[in-house]
């Protein structure tokens, strides 16, 4: 029950050094395991990398003139979110090794993801709808789409530009 026990145990194995168990204790087995799972192939990482680059280019496409739905922003938004979620899944599954982890991964990730979604939803009534009902005072000072149109009309009018020439 003294230091002696702890040290002798340590000499036989890593059990009393809790923090190091999987790294040290399993080290010999770990190498075998990693080959068994196909986990850690550099080729696989490069494949994921290429996929991520391709997906980034795809979401960037919505910005280019090639994108056919320029006048319907919602199509682009949905597309970009789908692309982002795919990229996020690739990073989490392969770079963060979750694909090869045991079932504990669900214990941590699913509640966190659900709480993240609820958190965002709970903001909608307070924050997201705050401009539905505002005082007249505030409505007068709020920016509106008409202000953007006004600015665009002013740009097209070329009033001062002609005066300058």
């Amino acid at each position: 029950m003294s230091d002696h026990d702890i040290h002798s145990a340590h000499a036989h194995g890593p059990i009393t050094r809790a923090g190091d168990i999987p790294v040290h204790g399993e080290h010999d087995e770990h190498d075998h395991n990693s080959h068994d799972h196909g986990h850690g192939g550099i080729g696989k990482y490069l494949l994921v990398f290429l996929a991520l680059c391709g997906l980034t280019t795809m979401s960037f496409l919505t910005y280019s003139s090639v994108w056919p739905w320029r006048d319907q922003p919602h199509v682009g938004w949905a597309f970009m979110m789908a692309v982002s979620c795919t990229k996020a899944m690739l990073v989490v599954l392969f770079f963060m090794h979750v694909f090869w982890e045991a079932n504990w991964k669900y214990v941590l990730t699913i509640p966190a993801a659900m709480m993240a979604i609820f958190l965002a939803l709970m903001l909608v009534p307070d924050v997201g709808m705050r401009t539905r009902m505002v005082s007249q005072e505030r409505a007068l000072r709020m920016a509106r789409t008409s202000d953007v149109l006004l600015m665009e009309q002013a740009a097209e009018a070329k009033v001062l530009a002609e005066a300058a020439h």
Partner: protein, 333 residues
């Protein structure tokens, strides 16, 4: 699952207890992890799950603010450059790959290679921050700050805006500068500056006149800092306002940087608040990652350090993950 946790000291089988060893030893305590992963990794994952909620709150607020707002600036209105954002995305993805390769090299007992990949990750992270700083500078130079008094962004070209422009033009330092500009002979100015000087004189007349209309103030705002028009592949002005100079370089604030007149970006203030909050918190996370990498570079980075690299890598991938969502939400929506 975890075979090594069952193997006992002194070669006893898994069912033996401490008192079998002989009375004076007492019970031998075994460590049995509740989850088949190291403590460090468990803590890192718990931390990351709190981070998921932290960024979910920020991103969620951004989304509900953005879609709840009556008007939200287009990316080019606020001088965001999509290619720069895409480049930064690419940089972060590359750094995610290099940290994974550092981990693999350390596990394969190639410490030198692991160090090289770790250094590359550090450099890529620094490059990301550098590009981010350049982007912040571009916002600051257009008067886009998260808050007054530095922010010069007005929501709409109304009377408040007009009086703010008048106030700025009435500041003693600006009056002196304007006088100096008016007295400069035209041959000492570039043609662009001559034309801008004439436009500035018109603007001064317009804000000083007692019977200004909403449209006049929109014209003033457009002269001070036009809302850049969209064009695929860059914000080269399509509407061609005034004398053939398109884009945002033709604003009076751009031609005479000392003017620093108030500018109009509808929805620009809320945009600035969310943009700087989101990218700022992300940048803080990047900085923390860079500090961790710098510390790790002091280790040997052999198989014994693989756990440390793995945890740092988990954190770094999470930072990459946040940017994967930030990039389309901020630059492309």
């Amino acid at each position: 699952m975890n075979a090594s946790a069952v193997s006992l000291p002194h070669g006893h089988d898994g069912h033996s207890h401490g008192h079998d060893d002989g009375g004076h030893h007492g019970p031998v305590l075994q460590y049995q992890p509740g989850l088949p992963l190291s403590r460090g990794k468990l803590i890192m994952w718990l931390f990351l799950s709190t981070e998921i909620m932290f960024f979910a709150a920020l991103l969620g607020s951004y989304v509900v603010l953005r879609f709840g707002a009556p008007v939200w600036p287009k990316p080019h209105h606020v001088h965001l450059s999509e290619p720069i954002g895409a480049f930064n995305t690419f940089v972060l993805i590359c750094s995610s790959v290099t940290i994974v390769l550092a981990l693999e090299s350390a596990r394969a007992n190639k410490a030198g290679l692991a160090k090289m990949w770790m250094l590359l990750t550090l450099l890529l992270g620094t490059l990301f921050l550098g590009v981010k700083g350049y982007e912040y500078q571009a916002k600051f130079s257009h008067g886009i700050y998260p808050q007054a008094p530095r922010s010069r962004i007005y929501e709409k070209p109304d009377l408040y805006y007009g009086s703010a422009v008048r106030d700025r033009l009435g500041e003693p330092a600006i009056i002196d500068k304007l006088k100096e500009l008016d007295e400069t002979p035209a041959d000492k100015l570039t043609p662009e500056q001559v034309s801008a000087r004439a436009r500035l004189q018109q603007v001064r007349k317009m804000v000083a006149s007692p019977e200004q209309q909403a449209f006049d103030l929109a014209v003033v705002a457009d002269q001070v800092m036009p809302l850049p028009t969209e064009g695929p592949g860059g914000s080269h002005g399509g509407s061609g306002e005034g004398g053939g100079h398109g884009g945002h370089a033709s604003g009076l604030n751009d031609i005479f940087p000392w003017l620093r007149l108030p500018a109009v970006i509808p929805g620009g203030n809320m945009w600035a608040s969310t943009y700087f909050l989101l990218t700022g918190f992300h940048a803080i996370h990047v900085m923390v990652g860079l500090i961790v990498f710098t510390i790790l570079l002091g280790y040997k980075l052999g198989p014994k350090d693989a756990g440390k690299i793995e945890n740092a890598g988990l954190y770094w991938h999470f930072v990459d993950l946040v940017w994967i969502f930030l990039f389309p939400l901020l630059y492309l929506f």
